[in-house]
Symmetry: C2
Subunit: 90 residues, 2 copies
């Protein structure tokens, strides 16, 4: 199932961005950046949090309320953020 | 404890890069990108995998062998990769 990044963006603005950042670059050191993250990975983690297979107090609470559609929308949104990676010089 | 990104780079080349990419952009859709990831987050996840508090068959095996020093070195390496995030236009 393909997620809708525009729907994901709206949802993320409400429930994800305070920790994970508007652009998917986290605002808290203990939270991961999600910009450009693989959508299959993000969706799998949200399902794992929802089912308490992955443990994190905050995320277990947030994910409990998510529908499958919302999960794929969120994954599509974070995947739509383009990231570039630059390895440091020696 | 501050990690050594150069030591982390060498270790990552051997045990992480086949899935997570030389530059921290994953080569497998089910693996997360690690480029520029928050070091406290990466270290916490490696410890959780090591202690089987977070479950993933591959990662539980890999992390079991890691020392605390190696964990902070790996976290420092991925944090040293500079990332930029660009939000898509509407």
């Amino acid at each position: 199932q393909e997620g809708d990044p525009r729907a994901g963006r709206r949802l993320a603005a409400g429930i994800c961005s305070s920790c994970h950042g508007r652009d998917g670059i986290a605002t808290l050191p203990e939270a991961p950046n999600l910009a450009g993250q693989n959508p299959a990975y993000v969706a799998a983690q949200l399902r794992a949090y929802r089912e308490n297979k992955r443990q994190n107090e905050q995320m277990n609470i947030v994910a409990r309320e998510l529908t499958e559609r919302q999960i794929t929308d969120l994954a599509a949104w974070y995947a739509a953020i383009e990231v570039t990676a630059t390895i440091p010089g020696r």
